[in-house]
């Protein structure tokens, strides 16, 4: 021990001596780095003496101090800021540091490394922490909306914690997931842990990203093209989103932020009131040839009493199912960097109530990121994060949630039964479902309880070793563990049995990855710079599921979030592996920089996935790309206005392996599971037809773009075009049922083309000492076409239960239905157009002989966003409008609300525009109870183009006003930074869509539905509108 102290002291003395010896011949330079945006100090900036390894970091107050020879140059670098240089001079070196993604030397995170913006040969959009942390959504990806050209983000609905469907440059997959690959600090994460039935819970799509704490995020990089995403090979087809978490830097800094907010719905769909409903039904009754007062009113066995329905006050079910949601979030973090240690640690708590009664999302997040540099050559970094998300859910939109108020909860139904005084139950329409569906929201919400609880642990350990100045080796071990449990409870009142029932569906997911890579920098006489990357990776994922259903219980199988209710069945239940995947890759990349103006990059990745059989297990994914910094050419000197001009182009192959794990394996279930027993004897049986010949879905990508900056970057932007051809699509193909081998088989079939153009413009419209107005505008057009689908009929590949299909020559998710022509003024019956365009009153939906045609595109023609930032002194006003144009919405629920009178509510806009007597020119047909004579099947089959609407909209997605407190004011409380803001989300909406919110879709059914029906509506809860107040302070 003594010896150790002695040695340490000795080392220190020697170091001090060396240091002071140097100091004699050099100057100590001090200075301060402030943010060009608001003048606040910027901690953690690396200040290097150019051409040496001498470096220091700025402290929390932005100051730095280091020793530098006179006449040398200081280089200031930090992720997210423009690298700047300044000569050493006498006196303080103060730097106004520009933090802007318009800037050219910004450091961006690329796959397996970082690059300067200028050197990047692919399409990458970077979104910094400040754009993410304060967004009033538990899930960071909704903060990406409108901020990057070609990145479409549509929130799924108003449910708390609900995800967003993120699509980068259109959609190229049909049956497998079209989501981008998400990579957190190098570890790919995905929705795999939600595999199986739990991905979609109660019609709400569970979001694998909801339990990632947005406050931990330093930056999000969106890799759009093959040049950028190609290094992720087989998983890069839909783009890659890299999430980098914060690391410690500067002198100790404590950050605290909090936010409280209120939320409500953006739009309330309008339905007719009680008396109008009854009057329309009376007309329907008479139209069907009946006379006298209507009978068989829905709601009771043998018919609800008409006189009672007329006499009782109307019930406002919408009002009962909604509320003003209250949300709050607290976040505390500490960051510090020293020569040997960097530490970032933080904790957060948030509780988001949606406007839906009974629905909330609560999250607790803890994180510690530590870097340790024992020597100048070695860095060891450790990341550890724990996130817990608990969400109380409501029943299916169409069976208990707000959807009830839009469908079966009729205004004359009462909350309580007059006779029993208990909740009114109504009568089931679904005779398959003997439990009976209550149409009483109150009864539902009190007697059916749902909860999901997730705990996610993310950990990573990185060791890097600088073998020589130019060679660095890195080894990374990453682990993810996710425990996710879904609970439901149905009371005895609801089941109508002596007991209620409960289920407990537990998924245990593990994901680990080993990575090793080497980076070698080679410089040949200053003109030629090479960076070589060579790496290998191994990933293993597994999900185990335990499902318990207890049919005689009076309480849920959880308690207060601890999940500690024991039940003999639950204890006895076993975990069964229901997903496993192994993935192995080798990758290599070369970057070549010639004269700082010509850049070339080539990469090759070889992936092997256990999802494919031996014959097709391996695949190679190459990319080649280049960039030319034209503005660095001598001839550009004459074009002074252009301070930056860069042309880049790239080509590459990417892939998708998003299959179920067993798709390639014909199999027999030999588990002899007790549940399959017959006569107490075990059974084995053929269970999966499988397809041993499956191979990768691949996309060939071509990308060309021009980046520019003029007038000292007052105007900058990018114009890009791309073409992506995907083939061997992984399709979940229906197979002939009579084989008895199941309904479907995975096959490689079909081709899809995506072509598009993207434009981004950043402008500083006005700039004076006190006032700045800057804008970001982006718009993208994507053309999508299915070019081949084998010999499948259009109805073979369905987008959930919507009329969205895959038809050659049309885009993915084309609405394929019978054309609605109008109403016959003579008899009020609907007129359709047959496949040849002739009028007919027969709605023929037969897939072989029928009249369904592809008529509308669900994908928008263009999407984009406009951000305006106005800054006056310490006040900043920020607005973000997002928009889309040209797409269509399939309103799947409309078939029961526009003429065919069932036990559903009726759209208000229908009431004023339907046929009532001969001669009437109306949009909607005469009301009927028994259906239209030409409609084969029931109201579920009453689909036609009358349910299609224009999905165009413009919305004020974000509006925020913030105030940065001046240093003079906050300094006395030892604060280095303080900001207060108010913000509003989805405040305004401009749309022609009459039913609800055009954004947000019923995407939860499966991957195919997410791809094909991004904005189909089936009683969707509209998006959330929220108002928030928050403060961020730093000490």
């Amino acid at each position: 021990m003594i010896r150790l102290i002695y040695r340490k002291t000795y080392t220190s003395i020697v170091l001090m001596l060396l240091f002071s010896l140097q100091a004699f011949s050099q100057n100590t330079v001090t200075g301060k780095v402030t943010d060009a945006k608001d003048g606040s100090p910027v901690p953690g900036v690396t200040v290097t003496v150019k051409g040496t390894t001498t470096a220091a970091q700025t402290q929390s107050d932005g100051t730095f101090s280091l020793v530098a020879p006179a006449g040398s140059t200081l280089v200031f670098t930090s992720v997210g800021f423009t690298t700047q240089e300044a000569p050493v001079r006498s006196g303080a070196v103060n730097i106004s540091f520009a933090q802007s993604n318009q800037q050219l030397n910004e450091i961006v995170v690329v796959g397996y490394g970082t690059q300067k913006r200028k050197e990047v040969t692919g399409s990458i959009t970077r979104i910094g922490a400040d754009k993410i942390a304060n967004v009033a959504s538990p899930s960071f990806e909704s903060a990406l909306a409108g901020k990057a050209a070609g990145v479409s983000v549509s929130t799924s609905g108003g449910t708390a914690g609900s995800g967003a469907v993120v699509r980068i440059r259109g959609i190229s997959s049909i049956s497998v997931q079209g989501d981008p690959l998400y990579v957190i600090d190098g570890l790919p994460i995905d929705a795999t842990y939600l595999n199986g039935p739990t991905r979609s819970t109660l019609g709400q799509d569970r979001n694998p990203l909801a339990n990632i704490n947005p406050n931990d995020i330093e930056s999000v990089e969106i890799l759009k093209d093959a040049a950028a995403a190609g290094i992720y090979g087989s998983r890069g087809s839909n783009g890659v989103i890299l999430i980098t978490t914060k690391r410690g830097r500067g002198r100790g800094k404590l950050d605290f932020s909090t936010r409280v907010g209120l939320s409500t719905y953006t739009v309330k769909p309008k339905y007719v009131d009680k008396n109008t409903w009854l009057a329309i039904r009376q007309e329907a009754w008479e139209n069907d040839g009946n006379t006298g007062p209507q009978q068989n009113l829905p709601g009771a066995l043998g018919g609800y009493s008409l006189s009672k329905a007329l006499a009782d006050p109307a019930t406002d079910w919408w009002d009962m199912a909604t509320r003003t949601g209250v949300s709050q979030a607290y976040n505390l973090s500490y960051s510090k960097g020293t020569k040997k240690f960097n530490i970032f640690t933080g904790g957060s708590y948030s509780k988001e109530q949606s406007y839906l009664v009974g629905n909330d999302y609560n999250r607790i997040g803890l994180r510690a990121n530590v870097d340790y540099k024992p020597t100048s050559k070695v860095t060891i970094s450790a990341n550890a994060a724990y996130n817990s998300g608990i969400s109380h859910l409501i029943n299916n939109a169409w069976n208990g949630g707000l959807g009830l108020a839009m469908s079966t909860a009729l205004p004359y139904y009462q909350v309580y039964d007059d006779n029993t005084g208990k909740y009114f139950k109504g009568v089931s329409d679904y005779n398959w479902d003997p439990g009976g569906s209550f149409y009483n929201f109150k009864a539902q919400s009190e007697n059916k309880k749902f909860r999901t609880a997730e705990q996610r642990y993310l950990g990573g350990l990185t060791g890097s070793y600088k073998v020589t100045k130019n060679l660095e080796l890195k080894g990374i071990v990453s682990v993810e563990q996710n425990n996710s449990v879904f609970n439901s409870f149905t009371s005895a009142f609801y089941t109508n049995q002596p007991f209620g029932n409960a289920e407990d569906n537990f998924n245990k997911y593990t994901n680990y990855q080993l990575q090793a890579n080497a980076i070698y920098n080679l410089e040949i006489n200053d003109d030629h710079k090479f960076t070589f990357l060579l790496g290998s990776e191994y990933q293993e994922q597994e999900t185990k599921n335990r499902y318990v259903f207890v049919d005689s219980t009076s309480s849920p199988l959880y308690d207060g979030g601890k999940n500690n209710v024991y039940d003999t069945k639950k204890d006895a239940a076993k975990f069964v592996t229901n997903f496993q995947k192994r993935f192995q890759s080798f990758l290599g990349r070369v970057n070549y920089n010639y004269l700082g103006k010509y850049f070339l990059q080539a990469s090759l990745r070889r992936d092997a996935s256990s999802k494919f059989r031996e014959n097709n297990r391996f695949a190679y994914f190459p990319t080649v790309s280049g960039a030319w910094s034209i503005s660095d050419e001598d001839f550009m000197d004459k074009l002074k206005a252009f301070n930056y001009l860069k042309l880049r182009a790239g080509w590459g192959l990417t892939g998708n392996d998003g299959l179920p794990w067993n798709a390639g394996y014909p199999s027999v279930n030999t588990g002899r599971n007790e549940g399959d027993n017959y006569g107490n004897n075990p059974t084995i049986y053929p269970s999966n037809l499988g397809n041993p010949d499956l191979k990768w879905e691949t996309s060939s990508n071509l990308d060309i773009a021009l980046e520019f900056g003029v007038l000292k970057n007052r105007i900058s932007g990018e114009l890009g075009v791309y073409r992506k051809q995907s083939r061997d699509l992984l399709l979940d193909v229906p197979i002939t049922i009579y084989n008895g081998a199941g309904d479907r088989q995975w096959q490689n079939q079909g081709k899809v083309l995506n072509e598009g153009i993207e434009f981004t413009l950043n402008t500083i419209n006005y700039k004076s000492e006190d006032f700045t107005w800057s804008s970001n505008f982006n718009i993208a057009h994507n053309f999508n076409e299915v070019t081949d689908i084998g010999n499948l009929l259009p109805d073979a590949i369905m987008g959930g239960t919507n009329e969205t299909r895959v038809v050659p020559g049309y885009s993915i998710g084309t609405i394929f239905t019978v054309r609605y022509y109008g109403v016959d003024p003579a008899d009020g019956l609907p007129i359709y157009l047959d496949r040849n365009g002739n009028q007919t009153k027969v709605l023929n939906v037969n897939p072989r002989t029928g009249d369904k045609v592809p008529i509308a595109n669900v994908l928008p023609d263009f999407t984009g966003g406009i951000t305006n930032t106005f800054k006056y002194k310490n006040i900043e006003l920020n607005t973000l409008f997002t928009f889309q144009g040209g797409g269509h919405i399939w309103d799947n629920s409309g078939k029961r609300s526009m003429g065919y009178v069932t036990d559903w509510n009726i759209y208000a806009f229908m009431a004023g525009n339907y046929w009532r007597k001969p001669g009437d020119i109306a949009k909607y047909p005469k009301p009927t109870l028994k259906g239209y004579p030409g409609v084969e099947g029931s109201y579920w089959d009453n689909n036609s183009s009358v349910q299609i609407y224009d999905a165009s909209y413009i919305r004020l997605r974000e509006l925020s006003l913030s105030y940065i407190f001046p240093q003079a004011m906050i300094g006395r409380w030892k604060m280095s930074n303080a900001k207060a803001y108010i913000s509003a989300y989805n405040l305004l909406l401009f749309t022609k869509y009459p039913v609800g919110d055009p954004e947000g879709g019923r995407d939860g059914e499966d991957d195919a539905a997410r791809n094909q029906s991004p904005n189909a509506n089936f009683l969707n809860p509209p998006l959330q509108k929220s108002f928030n107040v928050g403060i961020n302070v730093s000490f």
Partner: protein
């Protein structure tokens, strides 16, 4: 040269990296499943394989409730006036490719695949010829039962066309995946059914635990021939079972509760079991007729009045009245064994076959009188010993309606059979026995992926 040296330095590192992962194998065989080539190795595997055919047979989508419900909605006893959705499609004779007929169509074919797989692996049965014949007989029996139920629901009945060349269903007699098959004719389907049952009655033993016996095969043969209006054969096989098997006519007043109970009724010729700890077996059957859960398959007033008209009729106990909504509560017990074929039905077949062919009338008279005496306890006059064939026929059909109410979809098939025989016959709403819509439409999937598969014509019933 200097650079080459540098590259050489990197090379070993690259190799090191390469080895990090190459030691891992990336093959994963999904757990709980076995490749087909390794799944069937022993006789025990075949025993468990054939046993797997019965679970779907007894399942909710088959005899556990769906066959009965669909059949009753198409026949004339159920009240469907307020029924909407897919069930409304069925009741209104307008099923379309999306009308939810997929489950009832799919389930029998699952059983057929399991039966065919058994037949192709019989070589593994090495314990003796009896065991081997037993498994073969069971497989053929199951295959016949499934083809039979499918052809009855998805095609016009035998006798609809003179040569029965009208379209039936796809016959599957091998496990091989065969895309692109067209529908076989009804004649072809019946030929296969009869061939399978003929073989099964030879192969199966007389006593076979919970599994079908030779008597079950003979009983089904009788039912199939009866459906074809082939009365000689129908009579012959019914007679063989009634006189030869262990099953006996339950002549006690308790027959109304015994029929669906545990232990099984003495009349059962073939039945599906309900394990003592299985609380969900036949759940839909229980619920279909359970007024407490909301009457899911109510009967119409005519049926109710006809069934309860005679105060002495013990079968009145099967009828319930819940606030004016009526139902059949045959399947009320929390645990019961479901006979798919019983002596009462075989007696009715024997009697009607005899009357229809005007032979063996005394047997027919005795059969009908057994049934009426049991039900009414002498409160109605039995058939006279010299009753005419048409008197027997009339009484037999009347009693069949009462006895078989809500069982195995019998009523619908009688409507079709009588029509095919040439007599006037209609279902609810006066729908002709042979109108298009009384036959279920195939699920869309069969057309979407197979150009050779033709849909059923639609409409024409109401």
């Amino acid at each position: 040269m200097h650079y080459i040296k540098s590259f050489l330095k990197i090379a070993p590192v690259a190799l090191l990296i390469a080895t990090v992962s190459s030691c891992h194998k990336i093959q994963i065989t999904p757990t709980g499943t076995t490749p087909p080539a390794e799944a069937y190795k022993t006789e025990a595997d075949i025993k468990d394989l054939i046993n797997s055919g019965y679970s779907p047979l007894a399942g909710n989508n088959f005899y556990g409730g769906r066959v009965q419900k669909i059949s009753e909605y198409l026949a004339d006893a159920a009240e469907g006036a307020g029924v909407t959705g897919y069930e409304g499609d069925i009741f209104n004779y307008k099923t379309n490719p999306n009308s939810g007929t997929q489950d009832i169509y799919k389930e029998p074919y699952i059983v057929i695949l399991r039966a065919n797989t058994t037949l192709e692996n019989l070589a593994l049965v090495t314990s003796g010829i009896a065991a081997r014949e037993n498994y073969e007989g069971q497989a053929k029996f199951l295959r016949a039962v499934c083809h039979f139920e499918l052809v009855k629901l998805f095609a016009q009945p035998y006798g609809y066309s003179a040569d029965n060349g009208h379209l039936g269903i796809v016959i599957k007699t091998k496990s091989e995946f065969e895309p692109g098959k067209g529908r076989n004719t009804v004649k072809e389907v019946y030929d296969v059914i009869i061939a399978d049952l003929m073989a099964a009655q030879e192969l199966l033993p007389a006593v076979n635990s919970i599994y079908p016996t030779k008597w079950a095969a003979k009983g089904y043969l009788s039912r199939v021939y009866f459906q074809m209006n082939k009365f000689d054969s129908a009579y012959k096989y019914a007679d063989q079972v009634i006189t030869g098997s262990n099953a006996t006519f339950d002549n006690t007043p308790n027959f109304v509760t015994n029929r669906f109970s545990n232990p099984v009724t003495s009349e059962a010729v073939f039945s599906l079991v309900n394990e003592s700890d299985n609380t969900v077996r036949f759940e839909p059957l229980r619920n279909n007729v359970n007024p407490k859960l909301g009457m899911n398959l109510p009967i119409n007033l005519t049926t109710y009045f006809t069934g309860t008209a005679n105060a002495a009729d013990l079968r009145k106990a099967w009828y319930t009245d819940s606030n004016g909504v009526h139902g059949i509560n045959k399947y009320m017990k929390p645990n019961f064994i479901l006979p798919l074929l019983h002596i009462t039905e075989l007696k009715l077949i024997r009697a009607e076959s005899a009357a229809s062919s005007a032979t063996n009338l005394p047997t027919a008279i005795a059969d009908i009188n057994d049934i009426t005496n049991r039900a009414y306890g002498g409160a109605i006059t039995p058939l006279a010993m010299n009753a005419t064939a048409s008197q027997i026929l009339s009484r037999s059909r009347q009693e069949r309606k009462l006895e078989m109410i809500y069982e195995t979809g019998d009523r619908l098939q009688q409507i079709k059979r009588i029509g095919a025989k040439g007599e006037p016959s209609t279902s609810h709403g006066n729908a002709p026995w042979n109108c298009n819509g009384i036959v279920l439409q195939f699920p869309a999937q069969e057309f979407n992926v197979n150009v050779n598969f033709l849909p059923n014509p639609t409409g024409g019933c109401l």
